[in-house]
Symmetry: D5
Amino acid sequence: MLYMVEMDVNIPHDMPEEVANEIKKTEKAYSQELQRSGKWAYIWRVVGEYKNVSIFDVESNEELHTLLSGLPLFPYMDIKVTALCRHPSAI
Amino acid sequence: MLYMVEMDVNIPHDMPEEVANEIKKTEKAYSQELQRSGKWAYIWRVVGEYKNVSIFDVESNEELHTLLSGLPLFPYMDIKVTALCRHPSAI
Amino acid sequence: MLYMVEMDVNIPHDMPEEVANEIKKTEKAYSQELQRSGKWAYIWRVVGEYKNVSIFDVESNEELHTLLSGLPLFPYMDIKVTALCRHPSAI
Amino acid sequence: MLYMVEMDVNIPHDMPEEVANEIKKTEKAYSQELQRSGKWAYIWRVVGEYKNVSIFDVESNEELHTLLSGLPLFPYMDIKVTALCRHPSAI
Amino acid sequence: MLYMVEMDVNIPHDMPEEVANEIKKTEKAYSQELQRSGKWAYIWRVVGEYKNVSIFDVESNEELHTLLSGLPLFPYMDIKVTALCRHPSAI
Amino acid sequence: MLYMVEMDVNIPHDMPEEVANEIKKTEKAYSQELQRSGKWAYIWRVVGEYKNVSIFDVESNEELHTLLSGLPLFPYMDIKVTALCRHPSAI
Amino acid sequence: MLYMVEMDVNIPHDMPEEVANEIKKTEKAYSQELQRSGKWAYIWRVVGEYKNVSIFDVESNEELHTLLSGLPLFPYMDIKVTALCRHPSAI
Amino acid sequence: MLYMVEMDVNIPHDMPEEVANEIKKTEKAYSQELQRSGKWAYIWRVVGEYKNVSIFDVESNEELHTLLSGLPLFPYMDIKVTALCRHPSAI
Amino acid sequence: MLYMVEMDVNIPHDMPEEVANEIKKTEKAYSQELQRSGKWAYIWRVVGEYKNVSIFDVESNEELHTLLSGLPLFPYMDIKVTALCRHPSAI
Amino acid sequence: MLYMVEMDVNIPHDMPEEVANEIKKTEKAYSQELQRSGKWAYIWRVVGEYKNVSIFDVESNEELHTLLSGLPLFPYMDIKVTALCRHPSAI
């Protein structure tokens, strides 16, 4: 089941750089593990912003929330979820 | 080069049904030809709306505009284009 | 799987009253059948508006879109879907 | 009498974790007591957000405000209340 | 129980003047009857707009919706309802 | 002359509680004095929010600004003023 | 007493040109009479739009509404009123 | 003196095609004449929309409004003007 | 050449009062000097807000930006500029 | 390939002035180098704001993101990118 997930990252300016870097490193590993599993189907960077557009392919709303709320950057992101389905014109 | 394209369809209520059906039929053929060519990489329906989220993979801004403005439903759609690029965490 | 669905109805002022009444009658029957099946779990009227807030309990995004796009009033509604899941404090 | 209540939680990033945890623990107990009483009829998590959609069933506007303003997380939430009533198509 | 109700009137430009006048006349009578009953506690015109701000004093959400949806101008208004209660500083 | 005034209170989270309480106490006295004078005609709490809707009855725009900018909570409020007048249907 | 009034004109595309011209002619005469009286203190065109920004100098909210609702273009305008007063730095 | 001008075109769906084509032809000639004069310094199409972003180089606000309100498509466009000036980092 | 300038002041709550007072004092002197020169033609307070609406009469966009960016409160204001010109109905 | 880029700068008020100045100095050098290369085709200041409107002429979405995310002020800016292409009326 597919969902578009838009993630807008806002790291507080007063977070020490090494803390931020540690979180970003963990985030990257977390993201890549989910990509390898096929659940995080696509991730693209929005040009000019610290934001991504992603497609998730999961079993349920429940699973999607578990994955997203487990993101190391979750407390610093605005996330917008859009439920998708097959388009009648898709080949 | 990738772009997210969101297309929101608003067909006027007073358009005769056979005219609307003819346009939708042409639209579907046009869309599927572009999908087969690889330029219209993905198309998903937004659940509950007469709207799609698509990913285009084209050579240039110019080519994208030519493809979109050629859509039979173009005069009846609100279209929003977002330029995308590779995400540093993408595998 | 649960979804909040907000439906805002805008029937064009120039639709003949008997046409509108016929659509509303079919809509009511359609809605009540889905309610009886358990898929349209709740429906409430928003006070002062021609709008409802509903909770759907369906198998998938796909099924939800099929049900919503089949609504007789679908061409005359703005629909907003929000994916829900269990709240950790729910009893 | 029914109300939809949307609660969007924004805990300041500089709140010490043990303070935040203490507030969340009290919040959970407070919420569950109200759920058991039947006044907080439903609570759902919005997928991908630190936000819930709830349905309250109370005697009056007055009672709803008393319950909501007593929430331990009240100072850290954006709350939006929508008055609901029976839908004519509800079974 | 108190509610603020904001009513924004948009009569279609192609409605014949005598039809519009008839509706407005009925609306006025309907409004004044409710004002006399005490249920429509206050009504004020917003300066420069075809809009009013009103305070209703009714028994329930249900009653408020019945009154509002019975307004002769209801199909031509955007209505926004805000639930109110006693302010702790009110004398 | 009547005005609707909507006051949305946002006290900074790092203000010491005793400072906040002192301001709120002064605010309450200030508000009640104006209510007694008849200038602050009504004040209602918006359900679920730290916000009020008020009606002021004053001599002029000038006087209204003087009263509002003198509110002890003025630096911590978003205030929106709407000029009102008699509604032709008011009894 | 001063007010900023922003008037955004939207004449329906299907209004016959001679009807529109007649209304605009009456509007101009109405506006100039009010300007000569000093009540419509200033009127400026917003560059690139069919919109004006005006300053009115009137006795009361009541008088302002009477003047504005009497505008021949009133049914075709979105009007926004902002109450003004003397600025402490004004010379 | 420079201005960014964003023009969003909305031709009514019921305008006969030959009328629309005639207006667009006149618009093109009008635009190209202004481009040749140097006053309409740049014009770009926004990808995926019937909209342009332009830079005008004119003597005054007055002149810009005269040019824009003279556009054959002016009655069918939403126009937004932004005053620009030299950037301190411009070479 | 005329411009409407809307200035919304947001002084950070943690700025020491004597620093804020010093800036406001300099701001007032700066504003009054420009008013005396005729360049800051009008300044009005928006009722209930720490905001002003002003009219500037300057030679160019360039000059307006120089004046505005030199405001002592410039780093603490949201400023919106609207280019104005003569209205055809102005007397 | 052309893009409009709008950059809105928000430097935190608690950043030490010498740090801010150092970043701005590096930003200016970075910007001017890109301007000299032809990639940052135009940069204009928005009158009255700490914001610029720019036109970039680059090879790809990828290159644009690399240039923008390398801006020394990138962490302190809201950036909005709009893909542009040739306008059919451009001479």
